[in-house]
């Protein structure tokens, strides 16, 4: 693996090696070109960057802490049979952002760009509702019209976020096609964009979609990794051994990974949702089980049938319930720079409960997937490291939105409810 090569993606045509690209109806091509032009211009524009930094700081509350989770570290060490003095787990507290997740980083960046492109109507897709809320929030803040497409199934699962979006003045349009989740909401958002391209900007919520979205969203989210790297150097005195993040489309993971890519000693671990198990049809592990294909405008790993039909994904976490994955993740996996694992609903819920119990932090179900992989990671790392083991987990969002669903899940799985746990 050649680090400089891994860093300089995508190329001019938007490809990350064989992945990425632009696979969209011709009607959208000029809009993508316009977006790319503007993005290239403003990413180097000092005034734009200062304005973005201002809102990230004053409106969203950045920088978010890099928090040493001492009791979690001890619990994980115990589970892994490792020396607890040696394990230090740090949480990058993206859950403390305004609106409760990392999604606001990208929504702020894109809305500032939309204002400069004079687009007064904003559309977005949402799965768990976090990106929809973030988009509705920035639209309220800047006085723009906002339409959010959301799968009818997700609307049921995430009633709280639906109400938040409406409160923020957005129109939430339910999508009844296909599996009625994030994939279908994205189709519908793209169809809206094709229809209203002249006055509308589409704020894609993840590192997916046609070029320049995967690169642009990554760059807006890279603030997570830049902060975490600096904080780690300051607080620990060295770089971490591992950086761990959950991957649905993969924006929080790309955001925290990207600044660490040149640091070859830092292992990057993405965690996908294996839902009810990799051996079942009900999972969302695109990198683990998918094969290269085109979904939503770019080529990446996709869960699909032999005939090239996109399979319906499944995960307890609406934000990971997606049959594709950002093309740069496909590239990082192929080049070996990042490694991807998968955890089940059950493992994620266990981690959800554990973090709540030992740290007083209720994580999003999405982020719980990243936490769930820790025992396994520590176990495998235990023998290879003499020094202490430093792991950063991107706590991409908070779990308030998920408590109802977890309560229902635990009712069906009494064996997961520990004595003294007051959930359910």
């Amino acid at each position: 693996m050649n680090i400089p090569e891994v860093l300089h993606v995508p190329d001019e045509s938007g490809h990350f090696g064989e992945f990425g690209g632009k696979f969209v109806p011709e009607t959208l091509m000029p809009a993508l070109e316009e977006l790319e032009e503007n993005y290239q211009r403003y990413r180097l524009d000092r005034e734009f960057q200062q304005e973005l930094a201002y809102y990230l700081r004053e409106y969203s509350g950045r920088p978010t802490p890099l928090y040493y989770a001492e009791r979690l570290s001890a619990e994980i060490a115990k589970k892994a049979g490792a020396d607890k003095r040696r394990l230090k787990i740090y949480l990058k507290r993206e859950d403390l952002n305004h609106t409760g997740a990392h999604k606001i980083n990208n929504a702020l960046g894109q809305v500032l760009l939309a204002l400069r492109m004079r687009k007064r109507r904003i559309i977005a897709e949402t799965g768990a509702g976090q990106h929809g809320v973030a988009t509705a929030t920035v639209c309220a803040k800047f006085g723009l019209d906002c339409v959010v497409y959301m799968g009818a199934e997700d609307i049921k699962r995430q009633a709280l976020n639906v109400f938040r979006m409406k409160l923020l003045g957005a129109e939430v349009r339910p999508v009844y096609s296909g599996s009625r989740t994030l994939k279908d909401a994205t189709n519908e958002a793209i169809r809206d964009w094709v229809t209203n391209v002249d006055d509308t900007h589409y704020i894609i919520g993840s590192v997916v979609g046609p070029h320049p979205y995967p690169a642009m969203v990554r760059d807006f989210q890279a603030v997570i990794g830049r902060e975490a790297r600096e904080q780690c150097l300051k607080q620990v005195g060295r770089l971490p051994d591992y950086v761990v993040a959950c991957v649905g489309g993969g924006s929080n993971a790309m955001g925290i990974f990207h600044p660490f890519i040149p640091d070859s000693s830092v292992k990057l671990i993405g965690v996908e949702a294996s839902g009810k198990g990799l051996e079942t049809q009900e999972n969302a592990a695109s990198l683990t089980l998918g094969r290269p294909g085109v979904l939503h405008g770019s080529r990446s790993y996709v869960l699909q049938t032999e005939d090239g039909q996109i399979r319906e994904a499944y995960s307890i976490s609406a934000g990971l319930d997606y049959p594709g994955v950002g093309p740069e993740h496909a590239y990082l996996r192929k080049t070996g720079r990042a490694q991807y694992l998968a955890v089940t609903d059950e493992q994620a819920v266990e981690a959800f409960c554990l973090l709540s119990e030992v740290e007083g932090i209720i994580p999003a179900l999405e982020s719980s997937h990243a936490l769930a992989v820790l025992p396994q990671l520590v176990q495998n790392a235990a023998e290879t490291n003499n020094d202490e083991l430093v792991i950063i987990v991107n706590l991409s969002g908070r779990g308030d939105k998920d408590v109802q669903q977890v309560a229902e899940y635990l009712q069906g799985k009494p064996e997961l409810v520990k004595e003294g746990t007051k959930v359910g």
Binding site: G21, M29, V294, D307, G308
Partner: protein, 274 residues
């Protein structure tokens, strides 16, 4: 044959002062057997070119009518392989009106990539397909597909949109063959009340950039539209309005209604003035 069959059809129509009626149906909706009958019915009704949709789970460029048709077709297990077999059958029956008609497939790029980008053009031509329309494959992508299509004489029909700027228009038409598919509205497929106001202007713009025949699609759904477009372009493409008949009626009734509708559309296309 392939792309020459398209060229000959347009030349023959031009000689008669007629505009081509290009009809779209989704293959396998409601069944592959029924699709075969529908193709013959459309040809009997006046269709000059048949466009067969290969169903895809996530058809980004399609509105609700064709989305639902794709779902119906997928539900009964339609695959690209089965659609190619269907075309082979249509070609094999020499007595059938459909054996000589140009057939164009509309399919999304993942279907092609899943089949094998290199292999697909040869397999399509072997089955009797003359051209393809791929709504999510701009000329920047699919290099191997285009190379193999050229080698096998399969027309890759370029899509031009109302938003296409002049410089890009040149690239699009230079890459394409068969005819130009002009997407006349911003949006997805689906019947619409009125034609776009900038239609004539944009067709004139395309005509200055290319000598390929121009066919107008998206939103074209009524005999009045046929009359209006017939004065401007070499072809009209009607899809959702036919698919809706298939959705609303059943059995024999579908064939009768479809044949009548094709006839009404074609009636408006016989006095070309361009």
């Amino acid at each position: 044959m392939a792309k020459e069959r398209l060229e000959k059809t347009f030349a023959a129509l031009a000689a008669k002062n007629e505009t081509a009626l290009i009809t779209y149906i989704t293959a396998g909706d409601p069944s592959l057997e029924q699709t075969k009958l529908l193709v013959e019915t459309l040809v009997a009704g006046g269709a000059d070119i048949i466009e067969l949709g290969v169903p895809f789970s996530d058809p980004l460029a399609d509105g609700p009518t064709i989305q639902k048709a794709a779902l119906r077709s997928l539900k009964i297990g339609t695959t690209l392989k089965k659609v190619l077999d269907l075309v082979t059958e249509l070609r094999a029956d020499r007595n059938s009106l459909a054996s000589q008609i140009p057939i164009v497939l509309l399919l999304y790029c993942n279907t092609i990539f899943s089949h094998g980008e290199d292999r697909f053009p040869a397999d399509a031509v072997a089955a009797g397909v003359d051209g393809i329309v791929v709504p999510d494959l701009p000329p920047e992508e699919g290099t191997a597909l285009r190379r193999e299509a050229r080698r096998n004489g399969l027309a890759v029909i370029p899509l031009v949109a109302p938003t296409t700027p002049p410089a890009r228009l040149k690239t699009l038409v230079a890459e394409g063959s068969g005819f130009i598919y002009y997407v006349s509205v911003r949006g997805v497929t689906g019947a619409r009340e009125h034609l776009a106001p900038d239609l004539a202007e944009n067709i004139a713009r395309i005509r200055r950039a290319s000598s390929l025949p121009i066919a107008v699609g998206f939103g074209v759904s009524k005999p009045e539209h046929a009359v209006q477009i017939g004065r401007l372009a070499e072809g009209i493409i009607v899809g959702s309005a036919i698919v809706r008949i298939i959705e609303e009626y059943s059995g024999e009734e579908i064939l009768g209604k479809v044949r009548k509708f094709a006839g009404e559309l074609k009636a408006g296309l016989k006095e070309r003035t361009i």
